[in-house]
């Protein structure tokens, strides 16, 4: 339990605040949170943070409850477990998931917390974490697929006072930076994160000065309460007392085993929702474990719930007491120390598909297909001709699922504020060329609302080096819903300079590439929503014209086109043939189910080698883990 030091511990009385003042402070906090992003993007150096925005800011109240932000509060976990003091001028840095209750879930995420004081009294927190391109360890990028413990995953920082009452802990910082490959990026990104948190601190103090700390802090209570009330109403209207379950998978662990099962059961008791992960596989021996913080999952759940009803609402922790999250110890989602954690991105992503699948079973307005539920990584590193070290860490992007709201956009990100990296930028700073950057036709699942296409990106390497890949959904499908078909799966093909082609595993390290080799990095599409046989044939034809669907692919919608082989004219619909084909397909198909997973796990395994060019993973064997 952390000890909070206040030179002026008078405390603040709670006062009544009128609704307008509450709204004004709410807006001010929302602006402050975007200011944090702006400061970070402008000043960070690694492309992962600077261009792709792999970062998560929050502003919290005195107790550490998130008032604005998007990934839920990670401060409570820290305050509960930290044995030390919190003082004015302190800046905390940490990256060890095991010593902050999984506030962050792997060592690449560096979390900065700044307590904010007004004249000797604690009035709030600014905090942010960002993904470092490298934190040392056995492989560039620090996400070793073959790690079996966190000791192999680079430098791990337990909660550390980076600044102690305003004094920088220079020696500790240098010790940390000595462990990493891209020291200047880490230093600059860390500076940028600290600056963003300080910006939040400045805004909190300004609000306290403008309205008085009593009014400010009472407003935060009111905002949290407002959120709790809204969520209580939503829960009672939309969640049944009847138990619903949903299961999804991580395809493999990169070590030859898989798929790994994540299973969740949801039901309501009174005004509370229970989300129970009993039935999830035990922790993996490798590094795909996703140590899930319960509060983070509460936040994910809440955001999905309310997005449809009042998207202007400010996200905060107020509704947490309404949600009971149960994660059994020793599972994939709560592994025991010192299990490896680095490659947790697939588990993190898959959690969103599971949420969608659970909420959608009773509520068609919530039911989205499976989407781009991961953030696949590519690492490419080596020494260039001048003897300078280069190291790229890039997040791939795929298709958004088909939704009740409409088609899933092609090649867009499900992650908040994430963007791609301009290819000209990559070519200017790394020894490579991007020869192809387009979405893959037909990879979006057919549906009344089509799933978004995945992307095919072709990297031509201009220097010898080493590549790592972290991807998923190469074996299981991004499922479709309400009659929609699954989206296309991911694949990676290495085309050697001599023309030979090799399918690379979805997760791999230490792949040696030579000058002139090309990597086809193909991500997966989103699942389809609704019956593809009901999609407007003219729209299907237009999408063929746009190169998003092929003439062959159009037949999966039951649409027959008269093709102009030269491609100069827009294709037109053969109405007669289309009506005939649709009738026949509807007949052959029979009734559709809510979910279309593209077949059973056993079936996928049987067809794996033929369809993917890779041998099927073995069923997981679970190792012993430490008792606690």
């Amino acid at each position: 339990m952390a000890q909070i030091i206040e030179t002026n511990p008078g405390g603040f009385d709670r006062v009544d605040v009128d609704v307008v003042t509450i709204d004004i402070i709410e807006n001010a906090l929302r602006n402050a949170r975007y200011e944090m992003d702006a400061v970070l993007f402008r000043t960070a150096m690694s492309p992962g943070i600077r261009e792709q925005h792999d970062e998560f800011p929050i502003i919290a109240d005195r107790e550490g409850r998130m008032v604005v932000g998007q990934f839920g509060s990670f401060i409570g976990g820290f305050l509960d477990t930290y044995e030390g003091t919190v003082e004015d001028g302190d800046v905390f840095l940490m990256s060890d998931p095991y010593s902050c209750d999984a506030a962050i879930s792997h060592a690449n995420d560096w979390l900065v917390l700044i307590p904010v004081y007004l004249e000797g009294s604690l009035v709030g927190w600014g905090a942010m974490f960002g993904h470092m391109t490298d934190v040392g360890g056995k492989v560039p990028g620090s996400l070793p697929t073959d790690a079996t413990s966190i000791f192999e995953e680079g430098v791990v920082i337990p909660p550390l006072k980076l600044y102690r009452q305003g004094e920088l802990a220079e020696e500790a910082l240098e010790l940390i930076l000595r462990q990493v490959r891209m020291k200047e990026w880490n230093r600059s990104d860390l500076n940028a994160i600290v600056a963003a948190c300080r910006m939040a601190g400045r805004r909190i103090v300004e609000l306290c000065e403008r309205f008085g700390p009593e009014t400010y802090l009472s407003t935060l209570d009111a905002l949290l309460e407002r959120n709790r009330k809204a969520m209580a109403q939503l829960i009672s209207e939309t969640i049944s007392t009847e138990k619903l379950t949903f299961t999804d998978y991580i395809c493999d662990d990169g070590r030859g085993f898989g798929p790994y099962k994540i299973h969740c059961t949801m039901w309501r008791e009174g005004e509370r929702v229970i989300l129970d992960f009993d039935g999830t596989d035990p922790q993996a021996e490798g590094s795909i474990n996703f140590y899930l913080n319960e509060n983070m999952f509460r936040m994910f759940f809440g955001i999905y719930m309310i997005m449809v009803f009042d998207p202007q609402i400010l996200w905060n922790d107020g509704f947490y007491p309404l949600i009971d999250v149960r994660i059994p110890q020793g599972t994939l989602l709560k592994p025991r120390y010192p299990a490896a954690l680095s490659c947790r991105t697939h588990g993190l992503g898959r959690i969103f598909d599971i949420l969608g699948g659970l909420l959608g079973q009773r509520q068609p307005e919530f039911l989205n297909a499976a989407g781009f539920s991961s953030s696949p990584h590519l690492m490419y590193s080596g020494y260039d001709k001048r003897g300078e070290w280069f190291q790229l860490y890039q997040i791939g992007i795929g298709g958004i699922p088909g939704r009740p709201f409409g088609d899933g956009p092609d090649g867009h990100s499900l992650w908040p504020s994430f963007t791609n990296v301009p290819n000209e930028f990559l070519e200017a700073y790394f020894p490579l060329r991007i020869e192809h950057y387009e979405t893959v036709p037909d990879s979006g699942g057919p549906g009344l609302h089509r799933g978004g296409n995945g992307i095919e990106m072709v990297y031509r390497f201009l220097e010898p080096g080493e590549v790592s890949i972290h991807d998923d959904r190469w074996l299981t499908y991004p499922w479709g819903v309400n009659g929609g078909l699954p989206g296309g799966r991911s694949t990676k093909i290495l085309e050697r300079v001599d023309g030979t082609r090799q399918v690379l595993p979805s997760k791999c390290d230490h792949v040696q590439v030579a000058e002139g080799d090309a990597l086809h990095y193909i991500t997966w599409g989103g699942g389809g929503w609704g019956d593809p046989l009901e999609r407007d044939p003219a729209l299907v034809a237009a999408e063929v014209d746009r190169g998003l669907v092929t003439v062959e692919g159009a037949r999966r919608y039951g649409v027959v086109l008269t093709d102009d082989p030269a491609g100069q004219q827009a294709p037109t619909v053969d109405e007669m043939a289309t009506a005939e084909l649709r009738a026949q397909m509807a007949d052959d198909r029979g009734d559709t189910e809510i979910f279309n997973f593209g077949g059973s796990i056993d079936g996928l395994r049987d067809r794996c080698e033929d369809e993917t060019g890779l041998s099927a993973p073995e069923p997981p064997v679970f190792a012993r883990s430490a008792e606690q």
Partner: protein
């Protein structure tokens, strides 16, 4: 005797402002706008104003025009059908965009992607490749260009964009493809990305160039027509168009790069505010232009508007210089509502628009708007709107009552809440351009204009601590002032990515000189303005720390240019903006020269002087609700006010196109140009800006 004519085409009215170059005397004309062909409204206004004054067309020395014709093409989706030639492998550059989905976590659930400005079916790939340093990897395959153009010809595209990967480093392939296009497609307008935006980042460069092509046919049609009609009427002065960055450009420049005039309208407002405020002795300003559906704000430091590198219109964001104007969906027509789920009070961004408009307009609108709240609070007196439009107080009260009921408060409290919230939204925008850029708003005066600005300005001055609040005369036609008083501006830029150690002072100075020559060529070719006795050039180096993704412009002097000094200034600016500087190597990204013609010397018109006492202009009293109570406010007729008058709040000053509210505890002073300068009576902030330097 010569006159300069400023012309601003707004959504409802076309404003013309004629200024006598010698005396500064102004003459105004207002004619209804003619959206189908805006030049008709302009010409009607011209006839009216010249007839009124009995002057001939050749008495006009300058005709300067701010126009939203490009803006509207974008907002209404009525631009050209654009064909796009791209490098093989990049057909979906606009479709994939930056892969960004707005709205935070789960925002994708409710977001539908807007269609690209150049449709995918009109985007065709060609072979040929240049690398990031400008080296040719594969020659341009001319046969593939001809094929692609054949397809586009079949599709009847109306404008063509050519945007190849890395063309910022070498424009050769784009230029050759343009030659072939002219040969095959005749006189179709062509926009090259290497000319419109020779900067790194393929999506932003392509989008900006396509936006140029998209508005080009409509803009050139409009400008061509207008020029021709002006000439037909005997006007000999050349027509100039206001750019988004507040400078003027020739009609040739406007028709070849119309992407530079997307924010021509708001730029006119800022330029007008700057001109009038400088006359009054203030050149550190925040400008607030509040209209019916939105509010534009900008910051002016030392008489210079802050120029941003991006222009945003609706959902379109392109890389083109513009005055850093931020727009919020907060205006007189913004609708208030209380979502059942949260019970929060929200105002905007939905607007009641011009039709039916606020409930108070009596045209069938029932939704409670900001204007209705102002009516309920007594800020907009029903009988005193120049007599042009009577306001329906009962309808406004009924509409605001729906909010009061949902909040369980009385109707005036609800109305005050609506006004507070909309003020807070504008406050947020003002902070974006000030506090968030490292400026202390207490160092700035606040100039408010637009139909609704003067009603909310005093309250915003109080929130920002920005004094005085300046309400210029005729706040509704300030844009036309800006058009009439600004100067020619042109810029040339080049991406030149080098760490400081990879280049030299001399090399940088050499390129900047070349850019100056390029930019002044256009200004000289443009400008045969009589008062041009020379141009000035500003040089900018965009700098970042090596490894960063964003750069900051640093102004440099070519005499004795030293990169070391540039680096030091960058460090200072970085620290001011972001709280820290780094011990990392500096890197140049872009070099830029901005050439300006000499400044206008037009003086503002003075009004008659009088004493402290404004009572001669008083027309009565009315009850207003301020700070939770009803108080009596004095009503004044602005036209009757004299220089030196001091108006104690609470007071309401009315004129034809605007109403000014002075709050209790504040006093408005009328200066010699007819501006009302509002300051708090307790002296807070009175001297913060420093004593104004009054011009002789």
């Amino acid at each position: 005797m010569t006159y300069r004519l400023g012309v601003d085409v707004g959504g409802t009215f076309t404003d013309l402002l004629l200024i006598d170059d010698d005396t500064g005397t102004t003459f105004r004309a207002k004619t209804p706008s003619t959206p189908d062909d805006p030049s008709q409204g302009v010409l009607a206004g011209l006839e009216k104003v010249t007839a009124d004054l009995d002057i001939g067309p050749d008495d006009l020395g300058h005709v300067m025009h701010g126009t939203t014709v490009a803006t509207n093409a974008v907002l209404e989706g009525k631009g050209a059908t654009v064909g796009l030639l791209v490098t093989r492998g990049y057909r979906q550059v606009l479709h994939i965009a930056r892969s960004f989905v707005p709205g935070g976590l789960a925002g994708w659930i409710i977001w539908n992607k807007p269609a690209p400005l150049a449709a995918l079916e009109h985007t065709v790939e060609v072979d040929g490749r240049i690398d990031a340093r400008g080296t040719e990897i594969t020659p341009l395959d001319e046969a593939s260009v001809r094929d692609a153009l054949g397809r586009l010809e079949q599709r009847r595209v109306e404008a063509l964009t050519i945007s190849f990967v890395n063309s910022f480093a070498d424009p050769g392939h784009e230029r050759r493809a343009a030659d072939i296009s002219r040969e095959l497609l005749g006189d179709i307008p062509i926009s090259l990305s290497s000319e419109i935006l020779p900067e790194i980042r393929e999506y932003e460069r392509t989008l900006t160039t396509v936006a140029n092509a998209y508005v080009q046919p409509r803009v050139s049609h409009y400008i061509g027509n207008l020029s021709k009609e002006l000439t037909n009427r005997g006007v000999t002065a050349e027509l100039h168009i206001l750019r988004s960055d507040g400078g003027l450009m020739s009609t040739d420049a406007a028709t070849s790069a119309p992407v530079n005039m997307l924010l021509s309208g708001p730029a006119g407002g800022v330029a007008g505010a700057l001109w009038i405020a400088r006359q009054a002795g203030y050149d550190n300003l925040l400008t607030l232009d509040m209209g019916g559906t939105s509010t534009d704000v900008a910051l002016v430091e030392d008489g210079r508007p802050r120029i941003g590198r991006e222009t945003e219109v609706g959902v379109l964001r392109v890389r083109a210089s513009s005055i850093d104007v931020r727009t919020v969906g907060a205006g007189g027509g913004s609708v208030a509502h209380v979502p059942e789920l949260t019970g929060a009070l929200r105002v905007g961004p939905e607007s009641a628009g011009a039709d039916p408009g606020p409930a108070a307009y009596g045209r069938g609108g029932e939704q409670p708007t900001v204007t209705d709240a102002n009516v309920v609070l007594g800020y907009l007196p029903p009988s005193l709107l120049g007599g042009e439009m009577a306001l329906d107080v009962d309808a406004a009260t009924t509409a605001v009552t729906t909010i009061a009921d949902a909040m369980v408060v009385d109707v005036k409290r609800a109305a005050a809440g609506i006004v507070d919230i909309v003020n807070e939204n504008m406050f947020g925008a003002l902070r974006l351009v000030s506090v968030q850029q490292g400026y202390d708003p207490r160092d700035f005066a606040l100039v408010a204009f637009g139909g609704a600005g003067p009603l909310h300005a005093n309250a915003l001055g109080r929130l920002m601590g920005s004094w005085p609040v300046i309400i210029p005369p005729s706040p509704g036609v300030l844009c036309a002032y800006g058009d009439a008083t600004t100067r020619l501006r042109n810029e040339a830029a080049r991406t030149f990515i080098r760490r400081f150690s990879e280049t030299s002072d001399d090399q940088v100075a050499g390129i900047l000189r070349e850019l100056e020559a390029e930019a002044s060529h256009a200004v000289a070719a443009d400008g045969d303005r009589a008062d041009d006795d020379g141009t000035t050039t500003r040089f900018q180096v965009d700098v970042r720390y090596h490894g960063q993704g964003f750069e900051l412009p640093v102004e440099v002097d070519l005499d004795g240019l030293a990169l070391e000094q540039v680096g030091a200034e960058f460090d200072t600016e970085h620290e001011q903006l972001f709280t820290f500087a780094l011990d990392a190597e500096h890197e140049i990204v872009n070099l830029r020269a901005v050439v300006l013609s000499s400044e206008s010397t037009v003086q503002a018109e003075r009004i008659d002087g009088g004493g402290d006492d404004p009572s001669a202009a008083a027309t009565g009293t009315t009850s207003v609700y301020v700070d939770d109570r009803d108080v009596d406010a004095t009503l004044y007729d602005r036209a009757a006010l004299q220089a030196g008058n001091r108006i104690a709040g609470p007071a309401i000053v009315t004129e034809m196109d605007s109403t000014t509210l002075i709050l209790p505890g504040h006093t408005g002073e009328v200066d010699q140009f007819g501006n009302i300068l509002i300051r708090p009576d307790d002296g807070a902030g009175a001297d913060h800006v420093g004593a104004p330097t009054m011009e002789a």
